[in-house]
Symmetry: C2
Subunit: 472 residues, 2 copies
């Protein structure tokens, strides 16, 4: 079959207006939030599961890569069509199919934007906790593909903790349904969770059923300011050890505080070494007690000042610094790289110290803007992509960081996934046997390797040895 | 290799005293809580992962079945060595390796008894929610294998919601580690959850890391008595719709009430049609508010009486009926079969009505002792295994029940697994494509089919057509 006749077939499936090959359009699907870019050959906007199925049947027959894409906010190259092929944009599959207030579940198409979904459930007094920073644009399909997290992960986990069932179009076009609309199920292998975080490499998700929670009655915010980043880091695990699990527990170090105050002052003391920002939620009375406990642990941990918001407006003021932090950092240098290694919570002080050492070792500017409560360290590396020598140092920093955090029982990624960027490190975490078993999963679901090829698993023979390859 | 030389090899791995072939010993590993029985050829009691690895290396080479076994409390035939072979008993691998109060995690060997583990974490103010009725004897390894649930599933889910990582010996003896000691991880395919609920068919679990919660500060119990089982059933979803998620929400129907009062009177009115029993937990103030709400919803739902326990002793009195219910039912007839089909919560009234209809249709005595809050209906079928004609009616009841509950978006099993008993129904829930993909998972991990063969997946060509085969 010629390329033209495949294109004609794809056009007949989705309609000519929904199959685009012009470079002005393909350019919009060539990137994600990394520096990787590659144009797809064609962008398709199917509206139904049947259309997705027909697309995959054709693509599988012709061995053409298929990349399912949400909003393209991934920061590991996960959404970039590095081998070209077909991008399936979920934009037209954006219906909230059902919000079930009796079962506390919802069913959505993959293109639903997270913020839209959260607003819809919150209007009904319900709550969908995952809150990646990209929530105003990122889609539920993308969130499931990457197992997205966010600050609330401390108390509420990540996307995987909410997905009950999926409709998936497999590589050959077959439609499979997994899971059930029940909070408990023990019926065969858990294929649902195999797909959560699989980054579009095992199938194309066309419908998602999630569980919801009642919206907490109240929430409160506390900020604690420290003269030592170590004291702030120790306070994180001391908080958890005190049996308080805040909704969020964020840490900003001196580098971040300095940039925030330089960019848009929020009243943070520029001589502070670190700030912890916590939100608690629950019943009215429950949050009052939790706020007291968080404040007490922070004071005992050496906080020089603890601010408790008594109104929503005051809470907003405290959160302004955190919300503006990424933008403030991004103004400092041409390129900002967000690392995502995650450690067990009690290793945070050690990890913070190690990151500071590695900054000096590799002569880099790095701020820490961590979801500290769940050990998701998020060092922000301020650099310049055009400077190959500095980028090589960045790559060596990242390697050192992974070796440190994996040795502590941590993970390569807390919430951003593996994508293209981190696949060469997979054996470091999972060993050759883990990677081999993952390869068998890929082989079982996508024998022709058409689904988001070149992602999540290392290429055969690819190793983490060449540090400068972060630039590749 | 002869059978004798394999036995000699196995003895050399675990020590002669830990390899038993005498029928007095093999008889203890021939059964579970179903009527299936089959002696293993040998029972091994390894003490270390290395020993398990050596056993599997030998068994895989010789193509001998291996059945990993905890306490054998499964009620689907899951633990029965139906094709003989080697039973690996986890009894000597029963160390609590670590309870980490800073990370709120614990790591255990598979033979740790759940009640022992829960007592150990509760002493530290921590909480591991899964609470199958078998908890005083069942093991964490068995719980992970079956994805065990329990009454607290309403609020806290089941075992899968707590497992963070596993150490697994694969079929060929290779040791694999999955997951991380972090609450968030998005690093490759989620092999951890593929193993939870896999019933020993993909590998032998040798270490388990779970997350823990802070022990709730307080809990309270409410009982509501109804003149109509439909009203009680409607109150279940009305409670959830009122945005109260109790820890447990149990339903007993008139059949169960009658047997309980006949066996060991607990003060339940014998003319009542149903009783709902709820426990709520949280902060002191939070539970007071939740109790009020649960009581209010029950009254609005037509409860003729609502009893709120104000002391622990009063709560114990209310729970006595529930705790004694299974024993009371078991005294009624020679055989009691616990069904495990689970439906979305809003379908409970319809499901209860359907179960009552099916009782009449198939002329069976059935009581409902449901974890109603999560839709886990648990009809208890009082029958007699020796009566082939009645057992054939039981089988037809079960088929009708599955067809009803699956059509509602439910699942074959909420918490007991598939095992040998339900494998013939797998296609009804998962379709031929779902079953085919599960077969590929099995093939990928256990190409020689040595791990708990004949469980979870239907035999090739096996269908749910011959209802009387429940007796096979």
């Amino acid at each position: 079959m010629t390329k033209d006749s495949l294109l004609a077939e794809l056009r007949s499936i989705v309609g000519a207006a929904n199959a685009r090959v012009d470079t002005t359009e393909t350019a919009c699907y060539a990137y994600d939030a990394t520096h990787y870019t590659h144009h797809p050959d064609v962008v398709l906007y199917p509206a139904t599961t049947a259309e997705v199925s027909a697309i995959l049947t054709a693509a599988n027959r012709e061995r053409v890569p298929v990349i399912a894409r949400g909003a393209g906010t991934s920061i590991t190259g996960g959404a970039v069509p590095i081998h070209g092929g077909i991008v399936i944009c979920s934009g037209r599959m954006n219906r909230i199919v059902e919000i079930d207030t009796e079962n506390l579940t919802a069913t959505v198409e993959p293109g639903v934007v997270l913020a839209t979904f959260q607003a819809a459930v919150e209007k009904l007094g319900l709550f969908y906790p995952p809150d990646p920073a990209s929530l105003s644009v990122s889609t539920l399909g993308g969130n499931v593909g990457e197992n997205a997290g966010g600050p609330r992960g401390v108390k509420y986990g990540s996307t995987k903790d909410y997905v009950l069932g999926l409709e998936i179009v497999l590589a050959d076009g077959t439609v499979m349904r997994t899971g059930a609309k029940t909070v408990k199920s023990s019926s065969g292998y858990d294929l649902t969770h195999l797909f959560v975080g699989s980054e579009g490499t095992l199938g194309v998700i066309t419908q998602i059923t999630v569980r919801l929670l009642p919206l907490p009655e109240a929430k409160r915010t506390v900020m604690a300011i420290f003269d030592s980043v170590e004291a702030a880091a120790k306070t994180v695990s001391a908080t958890i050890a005190a049996k308080v699990v805040p909704t969020t527990l964020e840490l900003m170090d001196d580098v971040v505080i300095d940039r925030v105050e330089a960019y848009r002052p929020c009243g943070l003391p520029r001589d502070a070494a670190a700030v912890l920002l916590a939100e608690v939620d629950g019943s009215q009375q429950g949050v009052a007690r939790q706020v007291e406990l968080v404040a007490e642990v922070a004071r005992n941990g050496g906080a020089r000042e603890v601010r408790v918001a008594s109104t929503t407006a005051e809470a907003d003021t405290l959160w302004a610094a955190r919300r503006g932090a990424f933008a403030a950092m991004a103004r400092s240098r041409p390129t900002i790289i967000v690392e995502d290694a995650t450690v067990p919570r009690d290793r945070i002080p050690e990890t913070v110290a190690r990151i500071k050492e590695l900054c000096l070792k590799h002569d880099l500017q790095i701020g820490i803007l961590a979801h500290a409560g769940d050990g998701n360290m998020h060092p922000l590396i301020m650099t310049d992509l055009r400077d190959r020598e500095e980028m090589a140092r960045v790559a060596r920093f990242v390697e050192d960081l992974f070796q440190t955090t994996l040795a502590m029982g941590g993970t390569l990624s807390g919430e951003h996934g593996i994508g293209h960027l981190k696949k060469r490190y997979m054996e470091w975490q999972h060993g050759s046997v883990g990677v081999e078993m993952m390869r068998r999963m890929k082989q079982a679901f996508d024998p022709n390797n058409i689904l988001n090829p070149g992602k999540l698993l290392p290429d055969q023979g690819e190793a983490a040895s060449d540090a400068s390859s972060l630039l590749d």
